[in-house]
Protein backbone atom coordinates (compact mmCIF):
# COMPACT_ATOMS: atom_id res chain seq x y z
CA UNK A 1 0.00 0.00 0.00
CA UNK A 2 1.18 3.55 -0.60
CA UNK A 3 2.60 5.57 2.27
CA UNK A 4 0.63 8.34 3.97
CA UNK A 5 2.18 11.13 1.90
CA UNK A 6 1.30 9.44 -1.37
CA UNK A 7 -2.16 8.62 -0.11
CA UNK A 8 -2.78 12.24 0.90
CA UNK A 9 -1.48 13.43 -2.45
CA UNK A 10 -3.74 11.02 -4.30
CA UNK A 11 -6.77 12.17 -2.30
CA UNK A 12 -6.06 15.80 -3.17
CA UNK A 13 -5.73 14.86 -6.82
CA UNK A 14 -9.06 13.01 -6.78
CA UNK A 15 -10.81 16.07 -5.41
CA UNK A 16 -9.21 18.32 -8.04
CA UNK A 17 -9.99 15.84 -10.81
CA UNK A 18 -13.61 15.64 -9.72
CA UNK A 19 -13.77 19.42 -10.18
CA UNK A 20 -12.72 19.01 -13.79
CA UNK A 21 -8.95 19.60 -13.65
CA UNK A 22 -7.54 17.25 -16.27
CA UNK A 23 -3.96 17.99 -15.18
CA UNK A 24 -4.89 16.60 -11.76
CA UNK A 25 -6.25 13.56 -13.59
CA UNK A 26 -2.96 13.31 -15.44
CA UNK A 27 -0.98 13.36 -12.19
CA UNK A 28 -3.38 10.91 -10.58
CA UNK A 29 -2.79 8.54 -13.48
CA UNK A 30 0.95 8.74 -12.80
CA UNK A 31 0.26 7.81 -9.17
CA UNK A 32 -2.18 4.98 -9.84
CA UNK A 33 -0.49 3.26 -12.79
CA UNK A 34 2.26 1.51 -10.78
CA UNK A 35 -0.26 0.54 -8.09
CA UNK A 36 -2.64 -1.00 -10.62
CA UNK A 37 0.32 -2.67 -12.32
CA UNK A 38 1.44 -4.28 -9.09
CA UNK A 39 -1.94 -5.97 -8.75
CA UNK A 40 -2.70 -6.68 -12.41
CA UNK A 41 0.66 -7.96 -13.62
CA UNK A 42 0.91 -11.00 -11.32
CA UNK A 43 -2.65 -12.00 -12.15
CA UNK A 44 -2.93 -11.19 -15.84
CA UNK A 45 0.71 -12.00 -16.68
CA UNK A 46 1.40 -11.19 -20.35
CA UNK A 47 -1.97 -9.47 -20.56
CA UNK A 48 -0.93 -7.14 -17.73
CA UNK A 49 -0.93 -3.96 -19.84
CA UNK A 50 -4.47 -4.73 -21.06
CA UNK A 51 -5.59 -5.36 -17.49
CA UNK A 52 -3.99 -2.15 -16.24
CA UNK A 53 -5.55 -0.14 -19.04
CA UNK A 54 -9.01 -1.59 -18.47
CA UNK A 55 -8.68 -1.09 -14.73
CA UNK A 56 -7.73 2.55 -15.09
CA UNK A 57 -10.37 3.20 -17.75
CA UNK A 58 -12.97 1.91 -15.29
CA UNK A 59 -11.44 3.98 -12.48
CA UNK A 60 -11.34 7.23 -14.42
CA UNK A 61 -14.74 6.71 -16.00
CA UNK A 62 -16.28 6.46 -12.54
CA UNK A 63 -14.00 8.84 -10.67
CA UNK A 64 -16.71 11.50 -10.48
CA UNK A 65 -18.88 9.10 -8.51
CA UNK A 66 -16.27 8.27 -5.86
CA UNK A 67 -17.88 9.87 -2.82
CA UNK A 68 -15.08 9.09 -0.37
CA UNK A 69 -11.71 9.98 -1.93
CA UNK A 70 -10.04 8.39 1.10
CA UNK A 71 -11.34 5.04 -0.14
CA UNK A 72 -9.47 5.47 -3.41
CA UNK A 73 -6.90 2.69 -3.07
CA UNK A 74 -9.35 0.07 -1.84
CA UNK A 75 -11.65 0.96 -4.71
CA UNK A 76 -8.85 0.76 -7.27
CA UNK A 77 -7.65 -2.54 -5.80
CA UNK A 78 -11.09 -4.10 -6.14
CA UNK A 79 -11.41 -2.96 -9.76
CA UNK A 80 -7.85 -4.05 -10.59
CA UNK A 81 -8.38 -7.50 -9.18
CA UNK A 82 -11.67 -7.96 -11.01
CA UNK A 83 -10.35 -6.67 -14.32
CA UNK A 84 -7.11 -8.66 -14.10
CA UNK A 85 -8.95 -11.93 -13.54
CA UNK A 86 -11.41 -11.10 -16.32
CA UNK A 87 -8.65 -10.18 -18.79
CA UNK A 88 -6.58 -13.22 -17.86
CA UNK A 89 -9.52 -15.56 -18.35
CA UNK A 90 -10.33 -13.92 -21.68
CA UNK A 91 -6.75 -14.15 -22.92
CA UNK A 92 -5.82 -17.21 -24.88
CA UNK A 93 -2.48 -17.23 -23.12
CA UNK A 94 -4.11 -18.15 -19.84
CA UNK A 95 -4.58 -21.88 -19.80
CA UNK A 96 -4.72 -22.70 -16.12
CA UNK A 97 -3.17 -25.99 -15.17
CA UNK A 98 -4.59 -28.33 -12.60
CA UNK A 99 -2.46 -27.65 -9.56
CA UNK A 100 -1.88 -31.36 -9.21
CA UNK A 101 -0.09 -31.38 -12.54
CA UNK A 102 2.48 -28.82 -11.50
CA UNK A 103 6.04 -30.17 -11.47
CA UNK A 104 7.12 -32.13 -8.44
CA UNK A 105 10.39 -31.82 -6.55
CA UNK A 106 13.20 -33.15 -8.69
CA UNK A 107 11.30 -32.58 -11.85
CA UNK A 108 13.57 -30.86 -14.38
CA UNK A 109 10.79 -28.40 -15.00
CA UNK A 110 11.45 -26.97 -11.57
CA UNK A 111 14.48 -25.29 -13.05
CA UNK A 112 12.06 -22.98 -14.80
CA UNK A 113 11.79 -19.58 -13.22
CA UNK A 114 9.28 -18.71 -10.60
CA UNK A 115 7.20 -16.76 -13.06
CA UNK A 116 6.65 -19.84 -15.11
CA UNK A 117 5.30 -21.68 -12.10
CA UNK A 118 2.94 -18.90 -11.19
CA UNK A 119 1.86 -18.65 -14.79
CA UNK A 120 0.50 -22.17 -14.49
CA UNK A 121 -1.86 -21.24 -11.70
CA UNK A 122 -5.33 -20.09 -12.60
CA UNK A 123 -6.01 -16.34 -12.56
CA UNK A 124 -8.20 -16.85 -9.48
CA UNK A 125 -5.36 -18.54 -7.57
CA UNK A 126 -2.96 -15.80 -8.57
CA UNK A 127 -5.50 -13.20 -7.43
CA UNK A 128 -5.66 -14.83 -4.00
CA UNK A 129 -1.88 -14.82 -3.76
CA UNK A 130 -1.64 -11.18 -4.76
CA UNK A 131 -4.32 -10.01 -2.35
CA UNK A 132 -3.03 -12.04 0.58
CA UNK A 133 0.71 -11.89 0.13
CA UNK A 134 1.35 -8.76 -1.90
CA UNK A 135 -1.47 -6.53 -0.70
CA UNK A 136 -1.58 -7.99 2.81
CA UNK A 137 -5.34 -8.55 2.99
CA UNK A 138 -6.69 -11.18 5.36
CA UNK A 139 -8.79 -14.04 4.02
CA UNK A 140 -12.08 -12.39 4.89
CA UNK A 141 -11.23 -9.19 2.99
CA UNK A 142 -9.84 -11.14 0.05
CA UNK A 143 -12.97 -13.28 -0.04
CA UNK A 144 -15.22 -10.24 0.00
CA UNK A 145 -13.26 -8.64 -2.80
CA UNK A 146 -13.30 -11.74 -4.97
CA UNK A 147 -16.89 -12.66 -4.18
CA UNK A 148 -15.88 -16.00 -2.67
CA UNK A 149 -16.40 -17.79 0.62
CA UNK A 150 -13.60 -17.48 3.16
CA UNK A 151 -13.10 -21.23 3.08
CA UNK A 152 -12.60 -21.16 -0.68
CA UNK A 153 -10.00 -18.42 -0.37
CA UNK A 154 -8.17 -20.36 2.35
CA UNK A 155 -8.19 -23.47 0.23
CA UNK A 156 -6.95 -21.68 -2.87
CA UNK A 157 -4.30 -19.86 -0.90
CA UNK A 158 -3.04 -23.06 0.64
CA UNK A 159 -2.85 -24.87 -2.67
CA UNK A 160 -1.30 -21.95 -4.49
CA UNK A 161 1.32 -21.43 -1.80
CA UNK A 162 2.10 -25.11 -1.68
CA UNK A 163 2.69 -25.28 -5.40
CA UNK A 164 4.68 -22.10 -5.35
CA UNK A 165 6.79 -23.27 -2.41
CA UNK A 166 7.75 -26.49 -4.15
CA UNK A 167 9.20 -24.53 -7.01
CA UNK A 168 10.70 -21.86 -4.84
CA UNK A 169 12.61 -24.20 -2.56
CA UNK A 170 13.68 -26.70 -5.17
Amino acid sequence: MPDDANRDRAIRLVVAAQRGDTLAMHELLDVLTPYAGRICAPIALADGPDAVQETLVAVFRSLHSLKEPAALYGWVRAIACREAVRVARRGSRSVPADLATLPQRGDPELAADIGDVLARLSPEHRAVLVLRDVEGLDERAAAALLGLRVGTVKSRLSRARDSFRKAWTS
Binding site: A17, T22, L23, H26, L29, P34, A41, V52, Q53, W168
Partner: protein, 170 residues
Protein backbone atom coordinates in the same frame (compact mmCIF):
# COMPACT_ATOMS: atom_id res chain seq x y z
CA UNK B 1 -8.82 -16.22 10.93
CA UNK B 2 -5.10 -16.38 11.40
CA UNK B 3 -2.98 -17.87 8.77
CA UNK B 4 0.57 -18.65 9.72
CA UNK B 5 2.74 -18.84 6.66
CA UNK B 6 5.00 -21.80 6.46
CA UNK B 7 8.61 -21.02 7.30
CA UNK B 8 9.35 -22.04 3.75
CA UNK B 9 6.99 -19.47 2.34
CA UNK B 10 9.28 -16.83 0.91
CA UNK B 11 10.30 -14.15 3.38
CA UNK B 12 11.85 -12.33 0.48
CA UNK B 13 9.74 -10.50 -2.07
CA UNK B 14 9.23 -12.07 -5.45
CA UNK B 15 12.50 -11.39 -7.32
CA UNK B 16 12.22 -9.86 -10.77
CA UNK B 17 8.69 -11.08 -10.94
CA UNK B 18 6.14 -10.26 -12.03
CA UNK B 19 7.10 -7.99 -14.85
CA UNK B 20 5.70 -4.53 -14.55
CA UNK B 21 2.78 -3.54 -16.72
CA UNK B 22 3.47 0.01 -17.84
CA UNK B 23 1.07 1.94 -20.03
CA UNK B 24 2.32 3.20 -23.37
CA UNK B 25 1.27 6.75 -24.34
CA UNK B 26 -1.71 5.67 -26.44
CA UNK B 27 -3.04 3.52 -23.62
CA UNK B 28 -2.58 6.49 -21.26
CA UNK B 29 -4.57 8.68 -23.63
CA UNK B 30 -7.43 6.18 -23.67
CA UNK B 31 -7.48 6.12 -19.87
CA UNK B 32 -7.52 9.89 -19.47
CA UNK B 33 -10.13 10.30 -22.19
CA UNK B 34 -12.32 7.84 -20.29
CA UNK B 35 -12.33 10.33 -17.44
CA UNK B 36 -13.45 13.21 -19.64
CA UNK B 37 -17.12 13.02 -20.51
CA UNK B 38 -17.74 13.60 -24.22
CA UNK B 39 -14.13 12.94 -25.20
CA UNK B 40 -13.41 10.68 -28.12
CA UNK B 41 -10.09 9.06 -28.98
CA UNK B 42 -9.19 8.98 -32.67
CA UNK B 43 -6.34 6.70 -33.66
CA UNK B 44 -4.40 6.01 -36.82
CA UNK B 45 -1.40 3.99 -37.78
CA UNK B 46 1.21 5.98 -39.68
CA UNK B 47 3.88 4.39 -41.83
CA UNK B 48 6.82 6.10 -40.21
CA UNK B 49 8.86 5.16 -37.13
CA UNK B 50 7.85 6.63 -33.80
CA UNK B 51 11.19 8.45 -33.61
CA UNK B 52 10.05 10.61 -36.53
CA UNK B 53 6.65 11.37 -35.05
CA UNK B 54 7.73 12.28 -31.52
CA UNK B 55 9.62 15.46 -32.44
CA UNK B 56 6.53 16.85 -34.17
CA UNK B 57 4.38 16.29 -31.12
CA UNK B 58 7.03 17.88 -28.90
CA UNK B 59 7.34 20.98 -31.07
CA UNK B 60 4.80 23.10 -29.25
CA UNK B 61 6.17 26.31 -30.78
CA UNK B 62 6.11 25.13 -34.37
CA UNK B 63 4.34 22.02 -35.54
CA UNK B 64 1.51 21.78 -33.05
CA UNK B 65 -0.28 24.91 -34.22
CA UNK B 66 -0.19 23.48 -37.74
CA UNK B 67 -1.83 20.27 -36.60
CA UNK B 68 -4.63 21.53 -34.39
CA UNK B 69 -7.65 23.02 -36.16
CA UNK B 70 -8.54 26.66 -35.47
CA UNK B 71 -5.19 27.42 -33.90
CA UNK B 72 -3.21 30.12 -35.62
CA UNK B 73 -0.25 30.32 -33.28
CA UNK B 74 1.03 28.56 -30.21
CA UNK B 75 3.98 29.91 -28.28
CA UNK B 76 5.81 28.00 -25.57
CA UNK B 77 6.25 30.32 -22.61
CA UNK B 78 7.68 28.00 -20.00
CA UNK B 79 9.16 24.52 -19.75
CA UNK B 80 10.14 22.99 -16.42
CA UNK B 81 10.94 19.31 -16.69
CA UNK B 82 7.95 17.75 -18.39
CA UNK B 83 5.66 20.64 -17.40
CA UNK B 84 4.97 23.21 -20.08
CA UNK B 85 3.00 26.41 -20.46
CA UNK B 86 2.01 27.99 -23.74
CA UNK B 87 -0.07 30.83 -25.08
CA UNK B 88 -2.29 30.20 -28.06
CA UNK B 89 -4.10 32.47 -30.44
CA UNK B 90 -6.95 31.09 -32.44
CA UNK B 91 -7.74 32.15 -35.97
CA UNK B 92 -10.67 34.04 -34.49
CA UNK B 93 -8.24 36.20 -32.51
CA UNK B 94 -8.90 34.72 -29.08
CA UNK B 95 -6.03 34.04 -26.70
CA UNK B 96 -5.70 31.12 -24.32
CA UNK B 97 -3.09 30.11 -21.78
CA UNK B 98 -2.34 26.40 -21.75
CA UNK B 99 -0.78 24.30 -19.01
CA UNK B 100 0.29 20.76 -19.61
CA UNK B 101 2.73 17.88 -19.73
CA UNK B 102 5.13 17.02 -22.56
CA UNK B 103 6.91 13.69 -22.66
CA UNK B 104 8.31 11.55 -25.47
CA UNK B 105 5.31 10.63 -27.61
CA UNK B 106 2.98 12.55 -25.35
CA UNK B 107 1.41 15.96 -25.08
CA UNK B 108 -1.46 16.89 -22.79
CA UNK B 109 -2.52 20.54 -22.71
CA UNK B 110 -5.48 22.23 -21.08
CA UNK B 111 -6.63 25.80 -21.08
CA UNK B 112 -9.78 27.05 -19.46
CA UNK B 113 -11.79 26.23 -22.55
CA UNK B 114 -9.75 23.79 -24.62
CA UNK B 115 -8.22 20.36 -24.09
CA UNK B 116 -5.61 18.80 -26.39
CA UNK B 117 -4.12 15.32 -25.94
CA UNK B 118 -1.85 13.61 -28.47
CA UNK B 119 0.05 10.36 -28.06
CA UNK B 120 2.30 8.19 -30.19
CA UNK B 121 3.73 4.74 -29.64
CA UNK B 122 5.45 2.18 -31.88
CA UNK B 123 2.94 -0.08 -33.59
CA UNK B 124 2.81 -3.50 -31.97
CA UNK B 125 1.67 -5.16 -35.19
CA UNK B 126 3.77 -3.39 -37.82
CA UNK B 127 7.41 -2.65 -37.07
CA UNK B 128 8.48 0.77 -38.29
CA UNK B 129 4.93 2.10 -38.05
CA UNK B 130 3.52 4.34 -35.35
CA UNK B 131 0.14 4.34 -33.66
CA UNK B 132 -0.97 7.91 -32.99
CA UNK B 133 -4.00 9.03 -31.03
CA UNK B 134 -5.74 12.32 -30.47
CA UNK B 135 -8.40 13.53 -28.09
CA UNK B 136 -9.59 17.00 -27.31
CA UNK B 137 -12.14 19.69 -27.82
CA UNK B 138 -13.95 22.49 -26.06
CA UNK B 139 -14.07 22.03 -22.30
CA UNK B 140 -17.12 22.39 -20.14
CA UNK B 141 -15.99 24.70 -17.30
CA UNK B 142 -15.94 23.12 -13.85
CA UNK B 143 -16.31 19.58 -15.11
CA UNK B 144 -14.09 16.94 -16.66
CA UNK B 145 -16.10 17.15 -19.83
CA UNK B 146 -15.99 18.29 -23.42
CA UNK B 147 -18.75 19.76 -25.51
CA UNK B 148 -19.57 16.61 -27.47
CA UNK B 149 -19.80 18.30 -30.84
CA UNK B 150 -17.25 17.72 -33.56
CA UNK B 151 -14.76 15.91 -31.34
CA UNK B 152 -14.39 13.02 -33.75
CA UNK B 153 -14.05 15.32 -36.74
CA UNK B 154 -11.38 17.37 -34.97
CA UNK B 155 -9.43 14.20 -34.22
CA UNK B 156 -9.55 13.08 -37.84
CA UNK B 157 -8.38 16.51 -39.00
CA UNK B 158 -5.40 16.45 -36.68
CA UNK B 159 -4.37 12.99 -37.84
CA UNK B 160 -4.95 13.92 -41.49
CA UNK B 161 -2.60 16.85 -41.05
CA UNK B 162 -0.06 14.70 -39.27
CA UNK B 163 -0.21 12.22 -42.15
CA UNK B 164 0.24 15.00 -44.67
CA UNK B 165 3.05 16.58 -42.69
CA UNK B 166 4.96 13.32 -42.59
CA UNK B 167 4.28 12.81 -46.25
CA UNK B 168 3.72 9.11 -45.98
CA UNK B 169 0.10 8.30 -45.27
CA UNK B 170 -0.44 4.99 -43.46
Amino acid sequence: MTDTPSPQWPDTPLPQWPPTAPLDPVRRLRVLAAGVSGARVTTREIAVPCAEVEPLLADVDGELALLVPDMRRLRLTRADGDRVEAVARSRFGMHARFHGVRRPGWLWLQSRFVLIGIAATPSAARPGHTLVAFTGGVRVPGRAALVPVGVGRAGRKVLDRLDARLGRPG
